[in-house]
């Protein structure tokens, strides 16, 4: 009896707290708006390319730079391609690259921080110096430098936008690991004969992952801005692939003639980034009130 009670107790405590965190997020006005927008754009990234009324890459030289109409809701571009279709098709490229880069950055930075914090001593000292060096490049710069070496393309843009987040995640995880590795359950795991890899990934990782998830969500918006910025600069996704940043850079040339060519992808990316930013802020408010800024 006593055993049943004690084993049921923690579960009963954990479960409602998680549910209520989600409910609190739904009641959080801007957080729930962010959740809605993020889900909408993720859904668009998945199904968007199948919903296009026209083939996003089909050129039509009889209908160049048309204004919005019943047939072409957002008009057409300089090759007569349907702008609405291209924005829908671009959702997959733009959001996909942003999310992929964020996951890659969180993964590499997370493992780096985990290893650095767990190993301690000179490994930690050297690797944190390296983090300082990477953080010495403001914003886009590191990403631009990398692409100057590799050349443009979808792969390079994902890696370059990921690199941007790696040192931040490494430092975040390393800080949490330093606190967690002194706790009793780690000592217990070591006492039971668990190896380093098992302690790092089986015991330390679950203990430090919550802030990483919040932070990763918080930063998806920034990563999307970096990735789209690279494509805008001509260093990322190359035409004719539909991507919001590169669409905007094309549209700037036809601004006088066809402003909708710029408005459509611009509004799409702003709303998507806004959604992820609001969701991240909401998650932070709900899960960790001490972080509120």
């Amino acid at each position: 009896m006593a055993e049943v009670a004690s084993s049921a107790k923690p579960d009963a405590r954990v479960a409602p707290r998680r549910r209520s965190a989600f409910r609190r997020l739904l009641r959080h006005p801007s957080g729930s708006l962010g959740l809605f927008l993020s889900l909408l754009f993720v859904a668009l990234a998945v199904v968007g390319p199948y919903l296009t009324p026209f083939d996003a890459d089909r050129q039509n030289y009889l209908k160049l730079n048309q204004a919005p109409s019943a047939e072409h809701w957002l008009g057409t571009d300089q090759f007569g391609r349907d702008t609405f279709s291209r924005v829908l098709a671009g959702a997959r490229t733009s959001i996909g690259i942003g999310v992929a880069a964020k996951l890659l950055g969180a993964l590499v930075g997370g493992v780096w921080g985990l290893w650095s914090g767990y190993a301690g001593s000179w490994v930690d000292a050297v690797s944190m110096r390296l983090v300082d060096v990477l953080l010495a490049f403001p914003g886009l710069l590191l990403a631009i430098g990398l692409i100057a070496i590799t050349g443009p393309g979808v792969g390079p843009v994902i890696v370059a936008s990921a690199v941007f987040g790696v040192p931040i995640f490494a430092r975040l995880v390393r800080g949490s690991v330093l606190g967690a590795k002194e706790r009793v359950f780690i000592e217990a795991a070591r006492g039971l004969g668990a190896g380093h890899v098992r302690i790092m990934f089986g015991h330390l990782l679950p203990a430090v992952i919550a802030p990483v998830i919040v932070y990763a969500t918080l930063r998806i918006g920034v990563t999307m801005l970096v990735a789209a910025g690279l494509s805008f600069l001509g260093l990322g996704v190359q035409p004719p692939t539909a991507e919001w940043g590169s669409m905007l850079s094309q549209a700037q040339l036809y601004l006088r003639l066809d402003p909708w060519m710029a408005f459509a992808p611009g509004i799409a990316i702003t709303l998507a980034v806004l959604g992820f930013n609001l969701l991240g802020d909401g998650l932070r408010d709900v899960l960790d009130p001490t972080l509120r800024a």
């Binding site: 430098g145 600069l233 990316i269």
Partner: protein, 307 residues
């Protein structure tokens, strides 16, 4: 005391800057192909390539090469652009002034407008004004600067013809680029000012001041603002560092001849010595600005010991 703190922070920054120099040194060596060829230019003769290899010591070991590189950095030599065959320092000087002017105007805008909006929002907490500022600042943070810039061009240059389409180092040519560059920073500073103010307004000493019958405006000015604006300084300093790199996109949108514009031009031309020098300059600036923000923070807040 403060001077000592500044010196200590400078010394602490040395390993980071050295690391940046190593990374930039490796940057050119990581490029596919022979660095001597890259330095000599794409249409150089074999004899010229050999001459460059000897001049830069590229036939020696990597550590020896790095020593030479550091030596030339210490003498302020950044090499020559192989596109224009002019000393890079000369190129940098010309474009640096443009970027610095643009960033200074933008950071001043961010400070004045951002702090102003943040204070108004905090004082009228819960009002429509507060909601408007909150929505405006999150939009400013979320909208990509290249879209903000294009929108401003469309409204103010194409439709109303108030400003030129392209940026330049004239007053009218700087307005749109500066506002574009400042947009994100205004949002960040406004949001941060608002929450910092609200936090201080909830403190006991503010309630005490009010209870003593001090005029609410005096409480705001002398008790709240003085304390709430201290962390805003750090945030603004950090924003300034990011502005300098945000300039890469804004300068491209407006075809504004600053360092960021030069960087993109150099990448298109594969002018590697210039890319290398620019990355170095951007990161050194960034490190120094962050350091200055820290020192300024320590200087204005008497509670901070120079630890």
């Amino acid at each position: 005391m403060l001077l000592l703190y500044l010196l200590r922070r400078l010394v602490q920054a040395i390993p980071t800057l050295l690391g940046v120099a190593i990374l930039m040194f490796l940057f050119v060596r990581a490029l596919p192909g022979d660095p001597a060829r890259l330095y000599a230019g794409l249409d150089a003769t074999p004899a010229e390539v050999t001459a460059v290899r000897e001049r830069f010591g590229l036939d020696r070991s990597l550590p020896a090469q790095f020593g030479l590189y550091l030596g030339s950095l210490a003498r302020g030599e950044l090499g020559r652009s192989f596109r224009s065959d002019r000393p890079i320092t000369e190129l940098l000087e010309r474009h640096f002034r443009a970027t610095l002017t643009l960033s200074l105007i933008a950071i001043a805008l961010a400070m004045i407008v951002g702090v102003g909006l943040g204070v108004i929002a905090a004082v009228r907490r819960g009002s429509l004004t507060d909601l408007g500022v909150t929505i405006g600042s999150i939009l400013g943070i979320s909208a990509p600067s290249f879209f903000v810039g294009i929108l401003l061009i469309y409204v103010f240059a194409v439709q109303w013809r108030l400003f030129p389409v392209a940026g330049s180092l004239t007053w009218s040519g700087m307005v749109l680029p500066a506002v574009t560059l400042a947009a994100g920073a205004i949002g960040t500073v406004a949001r941060f000012t608002r929450s910092s103010l609200l936090e201080v307004m909830g403190e006991d000493f503010v309630r005490t001041a009010r209870a003593k019958g001090i005029h609410p405006r005096t409480v705001l000015r002398k008790h709240v603002l003085k304390n709430a604006l201290i962390p805003v300084i750090t945030i603004t300093g950090l924003q300034f560092g990011f502005l300098l790199s945000g300039a890469v996109i804004v300068e491209t949108v407006f075809n504004f001849p600053g360092l960021g514009w030069l960087l993109i031009q150099s990448i298109e031309a594969r002018d590697y010595p210039v890319i290398q020098a620019l990355m170095l300059v951007f990161s050194v600036q960034f490190v120094l600005i962050n350091l200055l923000a820290d020192v300024l923070y320590a200087a204005v807040d008497p509670r901070i010991s120079y630890g």
